[in-house]
């Protein structure tokens, strides 16, 4: 009996997925690929819109929730469907404390699917995370 319910839930979920156009902007914290950090970002421009240069605050914490200071951050992005990158080279220009880093120079110049990869180096250890954005 239970597997019929499961079937129904899957069917409805599948239909809802069809109805969802594209990928939602990921706002919540995401685990880095190697599991070292949890990373989230907050855009200074909300909602994120094209052709406007703006700042992000990137928050980095360890997997157990302690804020990470002294991280070296690089941020690259692009549109996989168009084989081009961001129009800018954003940089982490300031540590704001509590695991927050100011990233200046964010800009998107086309609507569509973007990927932003944030690489983090702390005391020689690297890890990275990729966020998907649909503008």
């Amino acid at each position: 009996m239970i597997h019929w319910r499961l079937y129904a839930v899957c069917m409805v979920a599948g239909l809802l997925m069809f109805a969802t156009v594209g990928i939602a902007q990921e706002q919540g914290a995401k685990k880095s690929d190697g599991g070292m950090f949890r990373i989230s970002y907050e855009s200074g421009l909300r909602p994120i819109s094209i052709n406007r240069i703006h700042n992000w605050i990137v928050h980095i914490e360890t997997s157990d929730g302690s804020p990470v200071a002294d991280a070296m951050i690089t941020l690259i992005g692009g549109m996989p469907e168009h084989d081009h990158g961001l129009p800018t080279l954003p940089l982490a220009t300031q540590y704001l404390g509590d695991g927050d880093y100011l990233v200046e120079g964010m800009k998107f110049h086309m609507n569509g699917w973007w990927q932003i990869t944030i690489s983090i180096t702390v005391a020689g250890d690297n890890d990275s995370v990729t966020f998907d954005l649909q503008l």
């Binding site: 069809f18 469907e81 200046e104 120079g105 609507n111």
Partner: protein, 398 residues
Amino acid sequence: MQFPRKFGAILTTTILLAGVVFWFLRPPAPGAWTEAEFELLRSLWIGSLPPLPAGQSNAVADNPRAARFGQQLFFDTRLSANGEVACATCHQPERLFTDGLDVAQGVARGARHTMGLAGVAYSPWMFWDGRKDSVWSQALGPLESPIEHGGNRTQFVNLLASDDHYRTEYAALFGDLPKLPAQDPAIAEVFANMGKAIAAYERLLLPGESRFDRYVQLLLERDEQHMDSVLSVDEVAGLRLFIGEAQCINCHNGPLFTNNEFHNTAVLPAIGKLPSMGRVAAVREVRADPFNCLGHFSDDPHANCAELRFARTGDDLIGAHKTPSLRNVALTAPYMHAGQMNSLAEIIDQYDRAPPALIGHNEAKTLNLSRNERRQLETFLHTLSAPLATSPEWLVAP
């Protein structure tokens, strides 16, 4: 027999839900737009054009007296090596500030096609490769280019000093001219100020309301009855392709129909010419430019200059050129950075085929539009024509 009844119920629910989903995702009826399309149309509408960005590094950007002075400089052929070339030689008001030529003709034949100037002050980057980061800094480039005006800053400062009207205007805006003969940086300062006055003039050159804009205005007012009399069925079909299947809106976005950024779309160089490296070579140039936003001649030492500070270069910008505005595109042939294309049909064919690039890579993907769709797209581009929204007194030599 519980199984079939349950199965039946689930199947019915599934079909009903599929129906609901299909209803919401159904292709739009002719003339009707989905909510997403509606937002895209609004984003292209001239009414979405924000106020002009602050002049940041130009203290006289919004000074009417500077604009008048700039207009005089813009039309003055004395600012050249042979006394025959002014900004207006290539940026002709009667041709929407273009020249109708493949490449600019100054004191010699140039290498780049003349861009129109309507809405230029909205762009963070000037020239086809973006080697200048403000209108005032851009204006200085051609003045000293040996193939454009062919002049030099000392000559220009001497001209200002010898012309009573210019001397007075300059003094009123920027203070007295330096005692001549003088050297840089005093001469460069005057030269930069000339660019700032010209920029104050060029800020006034703004695009006007086209038939496309009237259509969107009526759409926003939900006035379906009159909408249909503004654009034909084919023009609407072309517009639908523009924001959809043909993907033109990817780069030609916003109310100026440009993102003012740089893309390689595999446009071949002019016959007999090497391909232009485009943006990839220009970033170094603009960073080193003494007249950039971070330079000594900027009027705001605290200006953020984010576009310049975070400008990026990279392999994907090899052969990338600036997206031109499409407003008045049907009236401003030829096209592309070296005027390589003469018709809109030729351009649409280029993007439809999306051939591999000679250098770098083509960002565009093959569209496979039908002949009729290509024709509709071209028809739509004609709806973007409109006189500039600039008072007539600015559109003639003073």
